[in-house]
């Protein structure tokens, strides 16, 4: 242990702890900008400076390890003045139009400025000379350099957590900027649209491309029937933007709020998650049969899940040789969209051209996915607008709904029913667990051999998880799998996905089935989730997801009554011709820059 004094208070910390963390232990608040719990130390913004006795200059507390006998002061005149000047200098290059800014009231720079209550400006305002540009090309987010403080959280996110490095620090000095490869529009580079950078940007320099106004227009168009679907991870995070602590499940209130916003039908992506399990589970079993029994060499294994559009785009850019390994299943969002304008329309006798289909997602990549040309199987754009969890919170505030005090409500029916298996799609390992619950039962006629259906080896926050399931006691149709060991792996965050891909590519791992989610923690840590998101918060949301599962009456996808009904009335059976038309897709190779 290391002993030091901060503001004359004693504190003992582990070796390697930063001065910043030691101060936090004493509940002493030191402001930060470039620092983020998920990322490595950068030490470039300097707002966290403190005075160290005996040191010539002020030190950055986030980048300085605590040392024995250190004496630190966080609140001297020198510190305060320096910090004030640092923030003022940032603001001198910053287009501070807070009241018109999307991040108003949710901006770390603004709250620092607020703490200091600057009156006059001592520094020249350089904004007009700067020729900042705004890149609106991405389907998922807007990059506004006039709001950027060059803290590089986005750059570190994209390289450390996502191993994509679509953005970098270009040029130097006054010309320094966050840039893609040779300043290309973000829509034309290797960016996966995951939005992890957006989630970590402390200012309004990176924000989601919002569809709020378009959705309001649709709701208020008397000619339109507006259906909304809600992804599993939204219900365990939305509360954070509406006054709740992380980990609160607000499913019922969310459903009621959506109804009050004016959506004609409030339905559940969990339904199509269950459907995904039927389609993807069947696809896996068919692939296994073809590969293991028929010896068909054209079958690609392992099969990778395809629910995460950021992950799909990652493979399209970086590992196109593995596109045949991707499950052809669309993501639950897109399955839902294709059915909304076909099955749902028919069943409710509504002209599909009058249906506007909206989805609430924890994800910014879903905006890109919905815009893909492949996603028009209904003959229309299958999902018209995608809103992130954060955007839904904004709409609820705009509508003046008293979220804390509204009643809970239930989803509408037909495509509103779901099981616990659909719910856990929102956490890393969830798709795997849901798939195993169903596939194991199809093959053996028995439930998975795990207590209370909880397949714990595939759960948790480890970056790469592996498990082997021995298949025994197969029913007649699946006898060929008797005694087989199904090898599965799970990764979340694209840096971990990259590790798996390298192992598979180099022949160092032989899996049958791999689940990958682009975002750390899976969808609960999605780029469209409330800010801040960090490990502690992801863990709380994850616990909430599993609690939601445990509270469900049905916990296996194949028991979902809406799923059973749709196969009977409309789709025939998993992987049928109709399923392929509406629920499956294909992928394209993209450039790697």
């Amino acid at each position: 242990m290391i002993n030091l004094l901060i503001n004359d208070q004693k504190v003992a910390v582990q070796n390697g702890t930063t001065v910043l963390a030691a101060a936090r232990k004493l509940k002493i608040n030191i402001p930060t900008l470039c620092n983020h719990d998920d990322l490595c130390v950068a030490g470039n913004c300097r707002v966290c400076i403190v005075e160290q006795k005996g040191a010539k200059t002020l030190i950055a507390s986030c980048a300085t390890p605590a040392a024995e006998g250190m004496e630190i002061h966080t609140n001297t005149l020198k510190v305060r003045n320096a910090r004030k000047h640092i923030v003022e200098l940032l603001l001198s290059e910053h287009r501070s139009d807070c009241t018109k800014c999307y991040k108003n009231q949710n901006c770390e720079l603004q709250s620092l400025a607020n703490d200091f209550a600057f009156g006059d400006h001592v520094f020249l305002d350089l904004v007009e000379d700067k020729k900042y540009s705004i890149d609106r090309s991405s389907a998922s987010f807007i990059k506004d350099d006039s709001k950027c403080i060059r803290c590089q959280r986005c750059v570190r996110t994209c390289s450390e957590l996502q191993s994509v490095a679509a953005i970098t620090v270009a040029n130097k000095g006054a010309h320094q900027k966050i840039s893609s490869f040779h300043n290309r529009p973000m829509s034309q580079v290797v960016c996966t649209n995951c939005g992890q950078c957006v989630n970590r940007c402390p200012t309004g320099a990176l924000v989601e491309k919002t569809a709020i106004d378009q959705v309001w227009d649709a709701i208020y168009d008397p000619d339109k029937h507006v259906v909304v679907q809600t992804a599993p991870a939204v219900r365990v995070a939305l509360g954070e933007d509406l006054g709740y602590d992380p980990g609160e499940r607000v499913t019922g209130k969310m459903v009621n709020a959506l109804r009050q916003l004016g959506f004609n039908s409030v339905l559940d992506t969990d339904f199509s998650a269950d459907l995904t399990i039927m389609e993807e589970g069947t696809e896996l079993l068919v692939r296994l049969k073809k590969a293991l029994v028929d010896g068909d060499k054209s079958i690609s294994l392992p099969m990778f899940t395809s629910c995460s559009p950021g992950w799909i785009k990652f493979v399209e850019h970086k590992y196109p040789e593995f596109l045949p390994n991707m499950s052809t299943c669309k993501s639950p969002q897109q399955m839902f969209g294709a059915l909304a304008k076909t099955f749902y329309a028919k069943k409710n006798n509504i002209d599909p051209s009058k249906i506007v289909s909206v989805s609430i997602m924890p994800c910014t990549a879903k905006k890109f996915e919905a815009d893909r040309p492949e996603m028009r199987s209904s003959g229309f754009k299958d999902v018209d607008y995608v809103l992130t969890t954060r955007e839904l919170a904004v709409m609820i505030k705009q509508a003046g709904i008293d979220f804390r005090n509204i009643e809970e409500a239930n989803y509408d029916s037909v495509m509103g029913n779901s099981t616990g298996a659909g719910v856990i799609f929102g956490a890393t390992g969830g798709v795997m667990e849901a798939a195993l619950r169903t596939a194991y039962e199809i093959v053996t006629g028995r439930e998975v051999p795990f207590g209370n259906l909880n397949i714990t080896p595939v759960r948790g926050m480890d970056g790469v998880k592996e498990a082997t399931i021995k298949i025994e006691g197969c029913v007649e149709a699946w006898k060929f799998l008797e005694g087989a060991e199904l090898k599965v792996a799970i990764a979340h965050g694209l840096a971990n996905a990259n590790k798996i891909m390298k192992m598979v590519r180099d022949g160092k791992a032989t899996y049958h089935f791999v689940e990958i989610m682009a975002c750390p923690g899976g969808c609960i840590g999605g780029g469209g989730q409330p800010i801040p998101t960090n490990l502690k918060i992801r863990q709380k949301r994850m616990a909430a997801i599993y609690a939601e599962d445990e509270h469900k009456e049905l916990r296996k996808s194949h028991l979902n009554p809406d799923v059973i009904a749709i196969y009977k009335e409309f789709l025939d059976q998993p992987n049928s011709h109709k399923s392929h038309e509406l629920l499956h897709t294909h992928y394209v190779e993209r450039d790697n820059y």
Partner: protein, 154 residues
Amino acid sequence: MYQVGNLVKELSDKHGHARESLMPILQAIVQKHNYLTDEAMVEVARELDISAAEVYGTASFYTFLDTQVKGKYVIRVCKTITCSMKGKSDIIQSIEEMLNIKVGETTPDNQFSLIETNCIGWCHKAPAILINDLPFTELTPEKVTEIIKDYMQK
């Protein structure tokens, strides 16, 4: 614009495929071709298994690792204070008139590019320019005209 061909592969085989080889590889390409094309940067990224944006980020940090098309001869005129006081503007004007381009531009035949640079360490013999790697010092408009003429005949 040049085709990078096998160059990047040869260079990365020579310097190694680790990230540390990025600078020597970029320098060697620039040595040969005066600037980095997008194609060259993408190739380097592929050989070193890093992103193309990272290659661009590194290159754009260094003025001498140019990422814009440059002519066969890159004329860099020192813009810092000593050269400025000793008549840098006249030197630039002479070159601009001779080549019929402005600072920052390249001649249509891709022979010459004219840019300004920070201090090149020849303050005691200002004003100074670099043409590719070669310094020319204590310049006058007449002297620089002669020098450029020589290069035009090369």
